[in-house]
Amino acid sequence: MQVTMTVNGTEVTRDVEPRLLLVHFLRETLGLTGTHWGCDTSNCGTCVVLVDGQPVKSCTTLAVMTDGHEVRTVEGLADGATLDPVQQGFMAEHGLQCGFCTPGMLLTARALLDRDPDPDEATIREAISGQICRCTGYATIVRSVRWAAEHPVGAPEQPAEEVPA
């Protein structure tokens, strides 16, 4: 089947098997390996991408279901060399360790801040409750999202090595 969708601002058209999952379409057909896969049962959220701005588990979505829609992956978060505040926040507040859950967490955080620019801790925890991080114990992820809320887009970017060595 042919699908056409916008991925990170670029329109793509491909022939795919009807059963192809969106996660495999992104990772294998398009080579966008920033989106991960971590479970068989739609529980872990390492596969989360934004479809029309909403967090969606791409392991539970067929590629053909996103025909005509807009998909945003972690590769589409930064604006060129300028990182999205959520990316900066995760670096500043140690919101990641192995980095495997991170792309999904970043996208959920972006969607949350788009609808609620100043979320409290409980709201942040609820927003990421469909996603598992096995490394961080979540507190630093919450702080990272708060950091991003306090440094919205348009604010001068923190240097990559905010705390230089």
């Binding site: 068989d40 872990c44 992956t73 140690h94 980095g99 970043l106 925890r125 919450v142």
Partner: protein, 804 residues
């Protein structure tokens, strides 16, 4: 021994960021952003499944649906004929290559693909290699296997019954399911102390089977080049060098022809130490097809077949005087090792370091005996951030101390304080033979009490109890033992537990350090750069850390058991000191003086008495590679290499206090607060240290309240997906409060002790002690993990049930 105590900030306050407060902050240790983060936040990590090689095929494993059955026949005709399938490999094929069985890390053998019987649900039976992953899975459905069911051994307590089905009839002369008996301590002395003690408390407790479940599952890509006989093996492994050596032994490929690459790893926690049948199948698949073969397991495969953790049925006893002096502990353990003994621990310690179960207390006697048995369950056994069974040991003793406090009717904190090993007793040899390097326990516990407001919490609890609400406060104090070797005592299948580092300073003063250990998220690229930076006085951003590739790094046993900083960290520091000494000789040559006339200031050798005359590391590096005439015995570089054999283990410790509320109607436990005070000796990057602690605390809450790999009577795995195997989300864990003390290890080059597993080890007893404390009004003495709502509710109803 000097003991340095630093008090941490008050509750909720974060460690001050030195970069923000001191522009001329010292180079080296301190809170520094991680070097690995810029690629991860951009989705530019390179994990195993991200790697695509030209012509790569995909493998999938057919697994046994039964826990115990004889293999009658396997028909692969239809699968082999399926379009897109390149090979179907069975145990019979591997038998012809002498690869059907592989040695485990515990001197046992494990089936790669079953030949005679299947011995656990999920065991590997056949391997399909196909054009893509969907086709490989389709073909699995077309393989026809006939099984003859056998009765399984599921209950570990029945495994040694006379007449129990013999699981390992592949082993010659085997008539039962016994694996090993092991003991430590003096049984007679311990019995004598128990016989004359005023008070003896005993309790059966189960540390149930759990799973590390890293977010990235296990996998491998094998690329065998038949022309030059070279195997490149990409693997999700925490121990690339050990794997290469074992592959050389197993597959008969010479070691110098094998390159193991461990790319970015999406969490390990011990799950990625062993060699799994899928890795071997990928290698065989590549040899058979002449193309690279990728195999990545799915989540059910990960949970059902790869290394589990714990599974100890323990009976603990504690003896004390009526006044609250703890005299002795004694325990017997039945250890479920599954169908193959594939645990990972030093060879001489079949029960890991469980004999550290004397905890943080000064005792007169102790004895433990552990019996390992086979059951029809997945093999594995030491993983999930456990430091070689220290997790089980700490849980046992910390529960027993709470039970004793209950019996004596004293506060559990006071009982601990009265029995701690005192600072002046270090180095302290405990009754099972371990020598604790350093410790100062009371300040850590007092800090935790202050952070949580212990007295205030007890007051609140009394008020809540008065109106029928269930609130619990749980304390645990742990002593960890990590950083194995020394190699003369500790080896894994004959390989001594040492690790290496190579340091090279380039002519422009930038440096590279190559490590034998492998990060899975711990931030080695940052921490090890900081260690070198601290020693040489060059900025960490000028240091590149290379790891995870056996072609590029020195030999060593890898990252597990919180070994990296204690062992490879020692290697880096000592290699840096060699470089520093060499730099001194070269600087002296340049300055036309004697090395002994030079003094070190961070990053620079200068003339003693005249600091204006000196050479920086950058200048010295250029000189080393330049034209200056070098002193006798100094060659023209600034390189050094060290394999570090630790003189002893290190003994981090900590005090944890957990506050829970229990819903008496539903049995649901809510973790309201968790305070953790850790002492891991020297803290290299406090941000990373704190991150390691946070992650371990979440693990501990998970194990205490929800994580469980259970089995039904037929041996069906009941924890085989994330629907069944519950892991805490952000909703189940609190905002952690941390504090720290610093008691450096006296024998370690930088005084660091390792932190990776402390919180996983220390937190489960704090949570369970809190749950039991909450249920005290019902006269409940013990609830086994996981303290699920159902089990807590049953306990409240007076019908406590063990998990297995």
């Amino acid at each position: 021994m000097t003991t340095v105590q630093e008090r941490s900030a008050l509750p909720q306050e974060r460690e001050p960021n030195p970069a923000l407060t001191a522009p001329d902050r010292p180079i080296g240790f301190g809170r520094v952003q991680r070097k690995e983060d810029p690629r991860f936040v951009r989705g530019r990590g390179r994990y195993l499944d991200d790697i695509v090689l030209p012509g790569m095929l995909h493998g999938a494993v057919l697994r046994s649906p039964l826990a115990h059955a004889r293999l009658v026949s396997i028909d692969t005709t239809e699968a082999a004929a399926h379009p897109g399938v390149h090979a179907v490999i069975t145990g019979a094929d591997l038998e012809r290559l002498n690869l059907a069985w592989a040695p485990t890390l515990s001197n046992d053998v494990q089936a790669v693909l079953a030949t005679d019987k299947v011995r656990f649900q999920g065991q590997e039976v056949a391997f399909v290699v196909a054009e893509d992953r969907y086709t490989a899975r389709d073909a699995l459905e077309l393989i026809d296997v006939e099984y003859e069911e056998l009765p399984p051994v599921v209950d570990v307590r029945r495994a040694l019954d006379p007449g129990a089905p013999v699981i390992r009839d592949d082993l010659e002369g085997r008539t039962d399911n016994h694996v090993f008996d092991w003991e430590a301590g003096d049984a007679a002395e311990t019995d004598a102390v128990f016989a004359s003690a005023d008070v003896v408390v005993s309790q059966e407790m189960v540390y149930p089977r759990v799973h590390p479940a890293p977010m990235e599952t296990c996998g491998a890509i094998a690329d065998y080049d038949a022309v030059d006989g070279r195997l490149t093996l990409y693997e999700t492994t925490q121990a690339p060098h050990a794997h290469r050596t074992l592959f050389a032994m197993v597959a008969g490929i010479p070691e110098h022809k094998i390159r193991v690459v461990s790319p970015d790893i999406g969490g390990g926690f011990g799950n990625k130490v062993g060699i799994y049948p899928g890795y071997v199948c990928a290698v065989v698949g590549s040899i058979v097809t002449g193309r690279p073969v990728k195999w990545v397991e799915d989540r059910s495969e990960n949970l059902m077949s790869t290394a589990f953790a714990r599974d100890y049925v323990m009976r603990g006893e504690i003896a004390a005087t009526r006044e609250g002096r703890i005299l002795a502990v004694r325990t017997t353990v039945l250890a479920d090792h599954g169908a193959f003994n594939a645990t990972t621990q030093p060879t001489k310690y079949p029960a890991g370091f469980f004999s550290i179960f004397t905890g943080s207390y000064d005792l007169q006697a102790a004895h433990c005996s552990v019996t390992g048995v086979y059951t029809n369950k997945a093999p594995g056994g030491v993983s999930y951030a456990c430091s070689f069974r220290v997790t089980e040991a700490v849980y046992l003793v910390e529960r027993m101390v709470d039970l004793l406090a209950d019996e004596l009717d004293v506060d559990p904190v006071e009982l601990r304080l009265a029995n701690f090993i005192r600072p002046e007793q270090f180095p302290y040899r405990n009754k099972t033979g371990w020598e604790y390097d350093s410790g100062d326990y009371e300040p850590a516990l007092r800090m935790a009490m202050e952070l949580v407001d212990y007295a205030g919490m007890r007051r609140e609890q009394a008020e809540k109890r008065a109106c029928g609400e269930l609130m619990g406060i749980g304390v645990s104090f742990f002593t960890e033992t990590v950083g194995a070797g020394p190699r003369k005592h500790m080896d894994i299948v004959g390989l001594g537990m040492a690790d290496g580092a190579e340091v090279r300073v380039h002519p422009t003063g930038k440096a590279v350090v190559r490590l034998s250990v492998q990060t899975q998220g711990q931030g080695h690229e940052t921490t090890f750069a900081q260690i070198l930076a601290e020693e040489l006085g060059i900025p960490p951003e000028d240091v590149d850390v290379v790891h995870g590739d056996t072609d590029q790094t020195p030999f060593g046993l890898g990252t597990y058991g919180s070994r990296s900083t204690p062992v490879s960290g020692g290697a880096v520091a000592l290699a840096a000191r060699k470089v520093k000494d060499k730099a001194r000789a070269i600087a002296a040559a340049v300055l036309e003086t004697r090395p002994e006339d030079l003094e070190w200031e961070k990053g620079r050798w200068h003339v003693a008495g005249d600091p204006s005359i000196g050479k920086t590391m950058t200048e010295i590096a250029l000189a080393a590679h330049g034209t200056v005439e070098l002193p006798e015995g100094i060659d023209g570089n600034l390189d050094a290499e060290v394999t570090y054999d630790p003189p002893n283990l290190t003994f981090p410790f900590g005090a944890y206090i957990c506050v829970v509320d229990v819903d008496r109607g539903t049995g649901k436990v809510h973790v309201r607060r968790f305070v953790a005070v850790d002492d891991c000796g020297t803290r290299i990057n406090p941000m990373i240290v704190e991150g390691q602690i946070h992650g371990g605390l979440a693990d501990g809450v998970g194990m205490a309240l929800m994580e469980f790999i259970g089995f039904d009577e037929q041996g069906n795995c009941l924890g085989g997906s994330f629907m069944d195997y519950l892991i805490p989300t952000a909703m189940e864990v609190p905002d952690w409060q941390t504090g720290y003390t610093v008691t450096p290890s006296p024998h370690h080059p930088i005084g660091a002790k390792g932190i990776g597993e402390s919180a996983t080890v220390g937190s489960p007893p704090a949570v369970v002690n809190a749950v039991v404390d909450a249920l005290a009004p019902f006269g409940i003495r013990h609830v086994d993990m996981p303290c699920t709502p159902a089990r807590v509710w049953e306990a409240v109803q007076g019908r406590p049930t063990p998990p297995i």
